[in-house]
Each structure stands twice: as C-alpha cells, then as structure tokens.
C-alpha cells in the first residue's frame, strides 16, 4: 500500500498551526491538532500517511446500503397526493 513517511523539524507553533521544515527547504503549515502533546519547538516528528483502503471499502458499503434504503422507502411508491401531472 502506497504510503508517505517524512521527518520534519518543528519550528514555531501555536494553538492551531505549526510550521515544520523539511531537509530540502519546504516549509509546511501543519495542524497542531495532529501533533502529539509532547511536541515542542525543536522537536523532530515522523509523519506517516497511508491510504486506508479497508475503511474506504466499509464506508462505501455503508453508503450504498443507505442509498438502497432511501430508494426502498421513498422511490417505490407513487406519491400520495400528486399535485401535478407532467
């Protein structure tokens, strides 16, 4: 499964955003919320990002079930009091 793993240095950080730098001169605004609690300016963090195919499949399945329920409930019968015919 494709995944990205990088090490970054934590520069400034406030309640919402942290500035992380990479070795090749990227500066990345990163949500502080996604940083562990013990992180402070000067820390080095390892970030791993991977696609969660299994969860994606589950969600898709649940969504399809919901769609089918909606069709069953509201798409099988003629409306009770059609105001108009087209």
């Amino acid at each position: 499964m494709a995944s990205v793993e990088v090490s970054l240095t934590v520069g400034r950080l406030d309640a919402s955003l942290a500035l992380l730098t990479t070795k090749n001169h990227h500066v990345i605004e990163f949500p502080t919320m996604l940083l562990p609690d013990n992180i402070k300016a000067g820390s080095i963090v390892k970030i791993q990002v991977a696609e969660d195919a299994e969860l994606e499949r589950q969600e898709l399945e649940q969504f399809q079930t919901l769609q089918d329920e909606i069709l069953e409930k509201y798409g099988r019968h003629s409306p009770q009091s059609p105001v108009l015919k087209v």
Binding site: R12, L13, D14, A15, S16, T32, M33, L35, D37, N38, I39, K40, A41, G42, E56, L60, F63, Q64, L66, Q67, D68, E69, I70, L71, K73, Y74, G75, R76, H77, S78, P79, P82, V83, L84, V86
Partner: protein, 702 residues
Amino acid sequence: MLSQGSIPEVREDDIGSAIDERRAKLPQFQDLGPPDLVSIVKYTPSGSASSHNNKRSSMQLEPSVSSSAGGGGGGGSAAAGDLHANDKHKGEVGTFLYCVGADTSDPTSIAVFLKNMADAIAEKPQVWFGRHKPYRVARVTFATWNAFRQCDVEVVVHIPGAVQSYFLDTRGEVLTVAAEERELVWAETFASGVVRAIAMMADNREDGEVNNVVETRILNPLVSGEIGDVADHFIDVFPLLYARGVALGAPCDVACASRTNNYLCETLLHVTRLTRNFRRCRAMLEALQRDHPEVVVLLARVLLDADLEVDAVRLVHDDLSAHGGLVTAHRSELLCVQAAFLLDAKHDYAAAQRLAQAAVDCAPSEFRPWHLLVQSYVCLNDIENALLALNGCPVAPNRDRYIFKRVVSVAQDSANLHLPLPMDVVLDEVTGLNSRDIINEHKSVSPALLNLPAATLKANARTRYHLLTEIARKTGWESLLRYRSKLFVMEEEYQVASTPPTEEGDPLKPDGIRTKRLCERWLDNLFMVLYEDLKAYTLWQAEQLHFEAQNTHYSKTTTEWELLGLCALRLGHREEAATAFEAGLQHRFSAESSRKLLQIYLHERSRLKKDSDLSSSQVTAAVLDYDNKIIDLCVKICCWNHRWYSEFSVLLLDSLSVVVDDMGITKLSNEISSRFPETVVQLANDNLLAFYADFTDDGYDK
C-alpha cells in the same frame, strides 16, 4: 401599465453623461452586472425644431446595416461615441433611468419598448419639477450587459429615424460579431436580462425584494416579451448557454460556482416553477444530460419541484450508486438535493445527516453541505454536533447577495431626481402613505430596538445565525452557554495557548485544548447578536405581560411593532411575530410587515393542510380564512410595488399561486373586484392574475 407616472427619471447635468459614465465603468462590471440603463434626450418642440425633424423618414425598426451588430457589414469599427452625434434640438434635456425585465432578445423588441416609453413621455405635458412640460423625445438609448460575453449591448432609437445597435467590449470599443454568431449573442443578452430580474428577486426575498435604486423601472420579464412566450424561449436557449453559466456567478450560499450551481441554473428552476413549465424543462434537461452527466442535479430538482418524487428519488439513487468510490464533481450537489429532500419533505433526519456529512466530506469548502449538516443535527436534537458543525461552516465574508447598484451616483435628496407618483392606481391606505411620517416614526424608536445587530447580518452570516437561533430554541440561552463552554475554548484560553514558548520551551498548551476547539470569531460574535435579540424579545414580552396584567393598553407605533415582529421571527417565534405585525398594520400600511405576515400566513396555511387533528371542513374553513388574508396582503403589496415603479415580484406570484390552486383564477378575480377599487383591480389583473392565466403551462384552473 406604462404611464408617465410610472417612469422615474434622473435629470443629467450634461446630455448623455449617464451613458458615458456607464461606458467608463464597463471594466468594473462583474458577473450579472448592473440593471439596464435607459438614456433619454427630450425637448420642448419649437416651430423650427419640429419642422426640421419632420423631414426625417418614419421610424425604422430594423437596425441600420451600417452598425456592426446589424450583420457584420462594413463600417463596423466606427467609434460608438460618434453614433450619438445627430439630432440637435434647442432646449434639449437629458435624463436616465434603470430598467429591469425588458425583453432584450433582439434589437426590435428593445426598440418597441423604448418607443413605448417615448410615447408615454410625449403623450401629454409631463409634470417636470413642478411645471408642465410638453416634451418630445429626440432619441432613447438602451444599454444592457451581456454577462456571458462581458460586453455591453446598446440600442439607440432616433425619433423619428433609425434604430442602431452595437456591442461594446469592456474598453468601450465596438465589437464585431460575425453573422453566424448573432443569434447566440442575442440569446445571451436575453438570458442575462431574465437572470438579473429573477436573481435579484430570489436573492433578496428575505429582505422583501427591496431595491434601493429608486430610479429603476422593474418589469416582469416573463410577460414582457414581444417574442411570444419568454419562459419557453428561456428553456429553449438554455442548452446553448449552459456551459458558460459559471460566468454569471452564483448565489451567496455557493462558495465556488459550478455548471449546475450558478445564477443561470437557479433562474431556470425559478422560471420553470413559476410558469409550471415542467414538461418542457424536463425534456430539455434530459437531452442535455446525455452530453453533460452532471445535469442530473438540475433534473432532480425540477422533478422535485414538479412533485414527481419517485422519479427524483430513483434518478438520484441511480447516479449516486453508479460511480463506485469515485467522487464526481457534482456528487456533493446531488447529495445536498437528496439531503434537503429527506430533511424537509420526509423528516428523515438520520438519513439526511449521513448524506449531508457525505456532502461535506467531498466538498468541505462549500457552504450548503454544512448548513444541511447543522440542520440535520438540530432536527435530531444532537446539540453538541450541531454546534461543532456550525463552528466548522466555511465563511466568505465578502460574498453578498445580488442587488442592483447605481452606475451613476445620485444623492438620495438630489435635485435632479424626478420621482412621480403613479396616479393610475390609487389605494389611499397604500399609495397615500406619507414617507415623512414614517421617517419621524423611525426617529422616535428606541435605539436599542432600532439597532439590533441581527437585522444587518448579510448573506451566509444570516443563514448561520438562523441555524444558531434554531439551536437556541431547543436549548434555551443558559443551556446554550453551557454547551458553548463545554465544547469551545474561550478567546482568553486561546491567547494563553498561542503565546510562543519563551525561555524554557513551554509545554505546548494547557490541558484540555485538544478536546475542546477554538470557537470561530464569527460564531462568538453571533452569540452576542443572539443575546441582543433575546434581550429585546424578553423585554417586550415581559412589558406586554405587565401591561396586560394592569389592563393597560400596550401601545406601539407600526415601526416598533415591525421591529418587534422581525425580532420574534428571527428567534422562531412565528405566532408572536404575526401578532406584532398585525398590531402594526392596524395603524397604517407597511410593506415590510405585510410581506413578512404574508410569509407567516403561507407557512401556517400549509401546516393547517397537513394537520390530521382537524376535520376536513374545519381545515377548509381555516384555509379560506388564510386565503382571504393572503389576497388582501398580496394586492396591497402589489399597489405598493407599483407606486415604486416595480411591476414584478416573485414573492407575490408564488404566494398568490396557492390561492389560485384553491379557488381558481375567476373566483380570485371576483374576490379582488369585490374588495378593491377599479384601478387596483386592473393592476392586480395585469401584474398577477394575467400571469397565471396567460403565461403558465396550463397548471392553473381558470
């Protein structure tokens, strides 16, 4: 009903200066652009001048071949400024006004419209700044913005004489249009005009469709056509323009306009609903869908408007199930259609919430998915998630509704403003209202009531405020505050947390900030706004109770009642709002109170019809009662609009249509005749009843 009294005008300091100013401002026109401009040159005829003119040939309705728009022939590059340099008369005066809703589908239609206006002015001596002036019109120029092509279309009618028309690009240069493109350009020009008229009414419906540019004549674009049925024509040209609809911009609850989410599409849906032209529109969209799959969004909405629920549900289901995991560009919009349907029509809040969440996930920066998500949570009584989702709503502080703006600035009390009182329709209570008295009434209102901040919220801020008031209605104020401090970090805590580490590298933040989150500043502000509204409302209710307990009459002016009613309405207290508006309307007419009351009545009426606790005869009697009140309000508002040069209101057409559905056009007409003077009856027939009878797709009973 074109009469001298229904044409507002602004006198120019220099003849033609309004057109010049418009041309200079073309580079600033955005999206839908401003209303059309009518520039008039008129004169009081002397012997020599009129004999000079009589030498001219009679009016020629076809555009002169020498102009570029006239067929791409020779001489098309003449500077537009030169085209005015004819027809000098002694004692000429230049005037202008704005105009909306005129048929701009070809130069002939525009010329006929201008000629009618010229005739009205010349019909009899005009009352002109206190004197009677027997004006003749030398020429009329019409300028209308083609929003698709970003060009201004000008038509000049010389009387007597020729008609010229040309297209100007944003630099004011004459644009050459190839003969084969001419039809398309005029279709664009026509649609731009219809969209402007409808979009303004739709965007400002909550604000009573009020237009602040008083020197504007507003016509119903759906009945003003010289070309036959305007609605049919609009539906027919829609496919030609569809792919470029984004150029027109979108309502302010859309963050980023898309092909299916813009003013052109919104207008199509309004036109179709108003004229009940569902069959034609459905066929058109089904054909269009073959090349543009995303049209499914519009088709679903039309089917729902046409009460073809089952068809709509299937259509949406099939599209949402077809693409597997892939996210189509229109997925979020379609999910919103489905969510809104489940929420409003089916009260299936749990399903609506899941759909809204799915819409948010694929378009997190769009507004509507978030609004629907909050709404679902409110309906599910899930206050915490409702507040968190509200806090997550994206905002666009600079977006605003489409309103008409002046191209030529005119002071409110300008000595150049000619604002006649239309004497052709008289309903004392309405048309005789003294605006000075109302201003004085305003001045006497306590500032606390007059300056409630909720009244000035704009665009999406108002929507988000509405969502907050719905939450507050479920929780009450005290409990709302508890929720707030449980979920959100307060500003002070934030300040501490965001201070950069000093000396020893402070720990990141105080405990708890991770589980709580920052309350967006705008939401914090809305809490304050809500507090002010609640304070005013509570004070009023307590006062009134106190007076009633003492058997004293609780006396307020109409303006005060109106402000209290609006406050109650914002807080969702519909019944108290109605009481306030009704109390105010007992003293005198108020357009704003009437419009709000109209909307409350419509709402109550529809609730009644669904009320299963009442017997059918009870319902019928109660509905009839509401119908009569609705008729009364609609006719009065129609008179008021006419007095301010507007003959078009989507609100009135929508409102009265439910009455027509109940009693048919003939009975409604009789009702109106029995209650109102002749001129008012005529106005109601022209502006309202004739529309149902002659401009709709036989959805109404005679």
